[in-house]
């Protein structure tokens, strides 16, 4: 990093958001304590400061929330779609109005840079609500039959990496199609969901339509197991996803799962190199690599490996790691001590297995959970770090000789969520894309999201798609003669 032009601190102000000392569960339009009074703390991962004390939902609370959602479902599903649409449009507009506040909140609770919450997360959150609002009264045209019906009560469990965005991906299509929801945010990032509850209040959303239950894994387990939940939607680790899939067996519950990945970013010898470098950096260091669709494997054509790595290393030295609230920060904190420990363990494994580790010079703050951007070269498919999802800012670099080999290596994974293809040749993009077993393929770009664009994986990355017209399918049943579930 150039020292002649030292960027002075440019902190975003915390004063735009007012975090209360404690928050309750949001059930049936009201904030309440947990039935057994349990609470937990949520912490800012960049400083380890306690942000707030949150009620922790237990089984009794789950039951009460599902009942509230069931009760609200009757009226909500009977509303004309155009009325549901207007509620969702209101929510979208209020999110836009409060974007700055929500961005700062998300940065504090999650640890990611304000630049990302401000420029990526929040605009997508609002856009998701806008998009699905518009479907609420057009379901006849969605390709699911003449009068598709909602399923009922959706139990939704979301992860900590994009808290509010994952909430939007779950709640927007569910509500648009006439379902009601009980949503459990991740235990390390409950705050934006609770602020969303306040936005529902401002929008006049009928009570019980949205219920928010902060808690740990057991809260989520109770929710998906609840007999009166018709639809389960889960985004999180593959291990938990499999457990849920087993649990759903023999029930009538519809399930969608969005799980892990080990995305291959394939760079051919005729790639636009400077933009490919940007794509690699975005692919693995955006959100500190804590992204299911991260490009965590770089597959570079062997003939250009040295040149590409030189450019990449030079580029990595301009990454700025530090205070997530500083507007010039590129790399923020890791979300939790647990996650940091997982990353560290896998990285040590990488070294133990003989891969070569490199990081740019990087000063880590003394408190908080931090991991420097890291590159492993001389990695092969046999290495653990080429196979297991690290979910951190760690890139494994492998090589290939021919397009067939690139495809074979990219597909050689239990995962199948995302892939990137870098080449100037259009027909190669299309040929390779047609052979990759991945649900989202980016060519000459990476980590691009849009509410109109379906997202989801093949194989153990899960099933079902979120976003687009396809995203409605998970929340609809074909119409029946009786017109009811």
């Amino acid at each position: 990093m150039a020292s002649a032009f030292d960027y002075a601190p440019a902190p975003e102000s915390r004063s735009v958001v007012d975090i209360a000392p404690s928050y309750g569960l949001f059930i049936d339009g009201e904030f309440t304590e947990a039935a057994d009074g349990k609470v937990f703390k949520t912490v800012s991962p960049s400083t380890e400061e306690v942000l707030s004390e949150i009620a922790q939902a237990g089984e009794a609370d789950v039951d009460r929330a599902v009942k509230a959602a069931r009760k609200a479902f009757e009226k909500w599903s009977a509303l004309p779609g155009s009325e549901r649409a207007k509620y969702l449009f209101r929510i979208a507009r209020i999110i836009q109005e409060r974007s700055r506040e929500l961005a700062v909140l998300e940065t504090l609770d999650n640890g990611k840079p304000i630049k990302e919450t401000r420029d990526a997360d929040l605009p997508l959150v609002a856009a998701h609500f806008f998009y699905y609002a518009g479907w609420a009264d057009k379901l006849d045209h969605a390709g699911f039959g003449a009068n598709p019906r909602p399923l009922g009560v959706a139990g939704q469990v979301i992860p900590w990496n994009f808290p509010l965005l994952m909430l939007a991906w779950k709640i927007a299509p569910a509500l648009a199609t006439g379902n009601t929801v009980v949503l459990k945010p991740a235990e390390t990032t409950p705050l934006s969901a609770l602020f969303f509850a306040d936005i529902c209040r401002q929008a006049g959303l009928p009570k019980g339509v949205v219920n928010i239950l902060p808690g740990y894994g057991d809260t989520g387990a109770a929710l998906v197991a609840h007999p009166d939940v018709d639809k389960v939607a889960f985004t999180g680790s593959t291990a938990v996803g499999k457990a849920i899939a087993r649990q759903m067996a023999g029930t009538t519950k519809k399930v969608t799962l969005e799980l892990g990945g080990k995305g291959a970013n394939i760079v051919f010898d005729d790639a636009p190199i400077d933009q490919a470098v940007e794509g690699i950096v975005t692919g693995i260091f955006f959100n500190q690599g804590q992204v299911c669709c991260a490009g965590s494997r770089l597959l570079v054509q062997e003939s250009i490996q040295d040149e590409l790595l030189d450019s990449l290393k030079r580029r990595l030295s301009t990454l700025r790691l530090g205070d997530p609230l500083d507007k010039n920060t590129d790399i923020g904190a890791i979300n939790s001590a647990e996650q940091l420990s997982r990353i560290t363990t896998l990285v040590e494994q990488g070294e133990a297995e003989g891969a070569e580790r490199w990081s740019p010079a990087c000063e880590l703050p003394s408190s908080g959970y931090w991991f420097a951007p890291t590159l492993f070269t001389n990695v092969t498919q046999a290495h653990t770090i080429a196979r297991d999802e690290i979910f951190g800012p760690v890139l494994s670099v492998l090589t290939f000789r021919t397009p067939e080999e690139a495809v074979a290596k990219a597909n050689n994974s239990q995962y199948g969520l995302s892939a990137g293809i870098w080449t100037e040749k259009g027909s190669r993009i299309l040929a390779v894309a047609s052979k990759l077993r991945a649900g989202v393929i980016w060519s000459n770009t990476f980590n691009k999201f849009d509410p109109t664009s379906p997202f989801g994986g093949y194989k153990e990355s899960g099933f079902g798609r979120e976003g687009g017209r396809h995203g409605l399918e998970a929340y609809l049943a074909p119409s029946s003669p009786e017109g009811e579930r």
């Binding site: 155009s82 057009k138 045209h141 397009p403 067939e404 259009g426 299309l430 040929a431 390779v432 017209r469």
Partner: protein, 296 residues
């Protein structure tokens, strides 16, 4: 509160062209009366030169409007609904006067019109998913069909339904990225002219919608023959005029939407959206990886 009735300030009704509010270049106006014959206002009586200027404005605006993202267009259409909601009282009065409705019936009409804008706002980023898609051709090609806006559309707004009908014919045209030259109802033009005020305050770029008032036949003829207009919606034309305009439109093969009986209270289908869309189909070889050795 004074015991003497306060004298109101009459609105001078202007055209809405290119984002501005000009009078007719002809300097003419005509009387607009309510259903009982009481004078409401003088409305501009547009000439063919006004029509010509409106087409120029619509063409100028087309590049930017069709090039905007569908999301952006949806935001602006929703903003129009927000602005209309704020002016509900104004439009209830105008519609009541224009169509001889009671205030409560007019209120129902205006509510439906606002909701109609919201409905179309939600279509901008979905129509491509409903009518477009990949085509599984029998060969190593990627083949994609996408809808694109046709260009400048002349719209003859319904003669009777001066607000709900007006909005039902205008919104679908611009939702998909076309720009419009709108001929307001001849006998009830005022809600259309007032709509211009709403459009001007909604971030809608100037020229995307242009509103002309006057004698329908007089302005529709040059527009139907205009070589730089791509399509025409004949909703506001009676049988005789409609035929005449369709003949004139054939000179540059405009896409023509013939008049049909419509209950504007009912939720529309997508035909008003697709009527002004072209389908573009692109082929691209996908090549092959080939076990015999890739050509790449």
């Amino acid at each position: 509160m004074s015991t003497v009735d306060r004298l109101s300030v009459f609105k001078t009704y202007k055209l809405y062209v290119g984002g501005k509010f000009p009078r007719s270049e002809s300097g003419r106006v005509y009387e607009v009366t309510d259903s009982k014959g009481k004078w409401l206002a003088n409305a501009p009586q547009s000439s063919r030169k006004d029509a010509r200027d409106a087409v120029v404005a619509a063409r100028k605006a087309f590049g930017g409007w069709s090039g905007a993202t569908a999301y952006n267009r949806g935001q602006i259409l929703y903003r129009i609904a927000e602005m209309l909601e704020g002016r509900k009282d104004q439009f209830v009065r105008e519609v009541a006067d224009a169509e001889g409705l009671s205030k409560s019936k007019a209120s129902v009409v205006v509510d439906a019109a606002i909701d109609r804008w919201v409905w179309y706002a939600g279509w901008t980023d979905k129509i491509a998913q409903v009518v477009g898609g990949a085509n599984p051709v029998a060969g190593p090609y990627f083949n994609l069909s996408s809808p694109e806006p046709t260009g400048v559309v002349t719209v003859l707004a319904p003669q009777e339904s001066s607000f709900l009908g007006l909005i039902s014919v205008v919104a679908p045209v611009i939702a998909t990225g076309n720009t419009a030259v709108v001929i307001a109802s001849e006998k009830s033009p005022l809600p259309a002219l007032s709509l211009g005020e709403v459009l001007a305050t909604s971030d809608l770029p100037g020229g995307v919608v242009n509103v002309l008032s006057g004698r329908t036949a007089e302005i529709a003829s040059p527009l139907a023959a205009h070589q730089d207009v791509n399509a025409i919606d004949l909703a506001g034309a009676d049988g005789v005029l409609a035929k005449e305009l369709e003949i004139a439109a054939a000179d540059n093969l405009k896409r023509v939407l013939r008049p049909q009986p419509v209950d504007y209270n009912e939720t529309p289908g997508i035909d008003r959206l697709t009527a002004f869309l072209e389908t573009k189909t692109v082929w691209h070889p996908t090549g092959s990886l080939g076990a015999s050795g890739s050509s790449y």
